[in-house]
Amino acid sequence: MEASALSVWIVIVGAGAVTFLARASFIVFADPQKFPHAFRVALAFVPASVLAAIVVPGLVMPHGAIDLTAANPRLVAGIAALAVAAKVRNPLPALVAGMVVLWGLQALTG
């Protein structure tokens, strides 16, 4: 096996190890109560921070440059999905609303 092919498999297995260790951390290995209070406080802000850091570029930088105008269909579609998600617990309507608005705007602008 050549070096680059080997490194692909290292990445694949390594990504598996990293994700499993994060998931199993407290369920399998450690008791969260034994960690300092500050650590648990910080942990509580991980989802909001990481999810926002994933979502915002997808809405605002669809093609690598920041576009905060109404001419950015992904931003408009994201705001529509956000409005629906804030009202309805079921994730489905927000997903559908986002895709329909995006497709509609793309059809309009050609």
Partner: protein, 230 residues
């Protein structure tokens, strides 16, 4: 299986159904992305079975395409997986009574959606002894649909028209998860700061913007929480 266990399992399979509409295109996109990044279909599928995490798979594919060093790619995969630490800590008390042969597979199968629905179900009143079958049912359903979608995407490769904008499903999936994660002012501050920093740091190589933004958001969340308590 005890009758109660069976009904818990089936309830889990049923309750996850609305989520699957997002899972199928997302998995498809993750399969397409791996092949588009230069992996073989087999490697893309293996990545999915190893990591079973859409965002980790996409980040790995992007960094693989950019020929990033292995250690940088794995560090980025770790950062996007940090939220699993929080989910793991929240689920652990509900699973502590189970032997490791139960806890390890349930950990491997954990997802954002599975966590959200599982933790809600564990909070319901009533008989709690067979609740883990609910988590198993919904997780196995999601897992099966996910892997089938990734395999389809990896085999279809670059044949998907870009005009369908299927990749936007990825953003929407996480947006739908973000909304219920914003319960307090401190959550909101963390998200706003993370969102602003990720844009300001967009020029950094190797997805470092994601790392920097996540840490900034967590830091601000903690600060707001502390100020609020005093």
């Amino acid at each position: 299986m005890l009758p109660n266990a069976r009904s818990e399992f089936i309830a889990g399979c049923r309750d996850i159904a609305p989520v699957l509409v997002g899972t199928i295109p997302f998995g498809f996109v993750a399969g397409v992305a791996a092949v588009g990044a230069g992996m073989t279909p087999l490697q893309g599928i293996a990545l999915s079975f190893c990591a079973f995490s859409g965002i980790a798979q996409l980040v790995v594919a992007q960094l693989f395409a950019a020929q990033s060093p292995v250690i940088v790619t794995l560090a980025a995969a770790l950062v996007v997986s940090l939220r699993f630490l929080m989910y793991s800590a929240a689920l652990a008390p509900h699973l502590a009574h189970l032997p490791p042969r139960w806890r390890a597979p349930l950990a491997y199968l954990m997802t954002d959606q599975g966590f959200a629905m599982g933790v809600q179900h564990f909070g319901h009143p009533g008989d709690r002894r067979q609740r883990h079958f609910y988590l198993l049912g919904l997780s196995l359903t999601l897992y099966t649909v996910w892997q089938a979608s990734v395999i389809a995407g990896a085999l279809a490769g670059a044949q998907v028209p870009a005009a369908w904008s299927l990749d936007f499903v990825v953003t929407l999936t996480f947006l739908v998860l973000l909304v219920p994660a914003l319960r307090t002012r401190a959550d909101l501050a963390a998200a706003v700061v993370a969102g602003a920093v990720v844009l300001l740091a967009a020029g950094l190589p190797y997805k470092l913007s994601l790392v920097v933004a996540s840490l900034a958001g967590i830091g601000v969340g903690v600060l707001v929480e502390w100020r609020h308590q005093r």
